[in-house]
């Protein structure tokens, strides 16, 4: 019987378990998004029991967040060009509980639809006053807030005349390895949705809607910036902890 390094018996571990929600997520192999063809595993995924490594996760605190990291419009000497916006919301789990004190990271193109990246060849202007990256922590109630510039749409070469709808990338750690999520926030009413294979890779229309933020008049700052609200929902925990390994099929 193993014991851990401070001598407690290791056979009494009671661990939470995070619920899976495979139906909401895109298939790794999505024919219309051509880059998946050589990069998606072909063999079935093996079930990994949720043990200590899976129910814990990185605790990344305020030391990762600088004073202006949440405001992408003040990171340079001048103001960036484009439509200033506030994006705020909550990080929740699927039990409806807020995920407090978790690091939220964002990255995006500028107002002209260009990333400050050597690999971006889109002949749109680079904005010397916009880097397009930010981070913040959720507060004790799971709230986060960014000030940024509305990103532009941009062309890519996936198919004939392909354009990505405007989007902001989000990275969330949650509380456990199993809660890690990278997603994209889209804007309401974008006419490019129907032809975008990345957006459409989420097959359930209701699940796709959960990637679209809401215009948020209440949070608009008069004479300064429009606002959008975007809640992000990570996997939740089963209500009752279990003692035995799951042994279903």
């Amino acid at each position: 019987m193993p014991t851990d390094s401070i001598g407690k018996p290791a056979d009494r571990l009671i661990l939470p378990e995070y619920e899976r929600d495979d139906a909401s997520h895109p298939a790794l192999d999505t024919e219309e998004y051509h880059s998946t063809s050589l990069r998606s595993p072909r063999r079935p995924l093996q079930l990994l029991p949720q043990h200590l490594t899976e129910i814990t996760g990185p605790v990344l605190g305020h030391e990762r967040v600088g004073d202006t990291d949440h405001d992408l419009t003040v990171q340079h000497a001048g103001e960036p060009l484009g439509e200033r916006i506030v994006v705020s919301g909550r990080v929740l789990d699927s039990d409806g509980k807020p995920v407090p004190h978790t690091l939220v990271e964002v990255w995006q193109a500028n107002a002209a639809g260009r990333y400050r990246h050597a690999g971006d060849r889109h002949p749109a202007p680079l904005d010397p006053n916009f880097s397009g990256a930010g981070r913040c922590m959720t507060d004790e109630n799971g709230h986060y807030r960014f000030v940024t510039i509305k990103p532009g749409a941009y062309p890519w070469r996936n198919h004939d005349n392909a354009w990505r709808p405007a989007h902001i990338h989000f990275s969330l750690f949650g509380r456990a390895f199993t809660q890690r999520l990278i997603t994209q926030m889209y804007f309401p009413g974008d006419p490019l949705f129907y032809q975008d294979p990345i957006f459409q890779s989420v097959r359930d229309p209701k699940a796709r809607e959960r990637m679209i933020c809401e215009f948020d008049l209440d949070s608009t700052i008069p004479e300064w910036a429009l606002s959008y609200h975007f809640d992000i929902v990570l996997r939740g925990r089963h209500a009752t902890p279990f003692e035995e390994d799951e042994d279903d099929d």
Partner: protein, 199 residues
């Protein structure tokens, strides 16, 4: 800055459905974005007990993936996590998290420690391992694998996860020894595709 919170935020949402995953895209490596300057340095250079863990990320044609992001999560050398949900208590300040963007040849590296073994809820033991997240353009959701260590044959033979996978593919989860650490290549697809897990 004054702005009013939406009144609806006060009301708890009963069981909201989860937000779908999307690709990290090719441009996560903006200045100040996902790759951090210290990202691969789970331990600072010169730390005692540090070892190098490195490898390459390869696609189904065997070509390097130069726009991937690898993240690792692991226990310290005693098998402890700096996390409140470790029921044994938190008595380590080892961060356990590393992040490295892949280079032109698909290579990534971490300076870290080899973790200790871990107890399981049923009283058995997991061999030392590192959990890995792979993100890249073309991956609509992260894929997850584990790194086991070649100098742990007994623990590996008894490990409940390694014991449950196809023996013919088990070696894809075990690093190889190098002079200053370990090598673990990740093959997203192909005859020697790495085993990936559903978590």
């Amino acid at each position: 800055m004054n702005h009013s919170n939406r009144s609806s935020e006060a009301a708890p949402v009963a069981h909201p459905a989860t937000t779908p995953s999307q690709t990290v895209g090719p441009f996560f490596a903006l200045p100040g974005a996902l790759p951090w300057p210290d990202g691969p340095e789970v331990l600072p250079a010169g730390s005692s007990g540090a070892t190098l863990l490195r490898g390459r990320l390869l696609d189904g044609a065997g070509d390097p993936v130069p726009d991937g992001l690898i993240e690792i999560w692991q226990a310290d050398e005693r098998g402890r996590f700096a996390h409140p949900d470790d029921p044994r208590g938190t008595s380590t300040d080892f961060p356990g998290f590393g992040r490295c963007a892949t280079g032109p040849d698909g290579e990534f590296w971490f300076r870290t420690v080899k973790p200790g073994p871990l107890p399981t809820p049923d009283g058995s033991e997991e061999a030392p391992h590192v959990n890995v997240t792979v993100l890249a353009r073309g991956l609509l959701a992260r894929v997850v694998t584990r790194i086991y260590f070649p100098d742990e044959p007994t623990a590996n033979a008894a490990d409940p996860v390694l014991s449950a996978v196809d023996p013919a593919r088990r070696d894809t989860l075990v690093a190889t020894a190098e002079a200053d650490g370990y090598r673990f290549d990740i093959r997203l697809q192909g005859d020697d595709e790495t085993i990936f897990f559903a978590v």
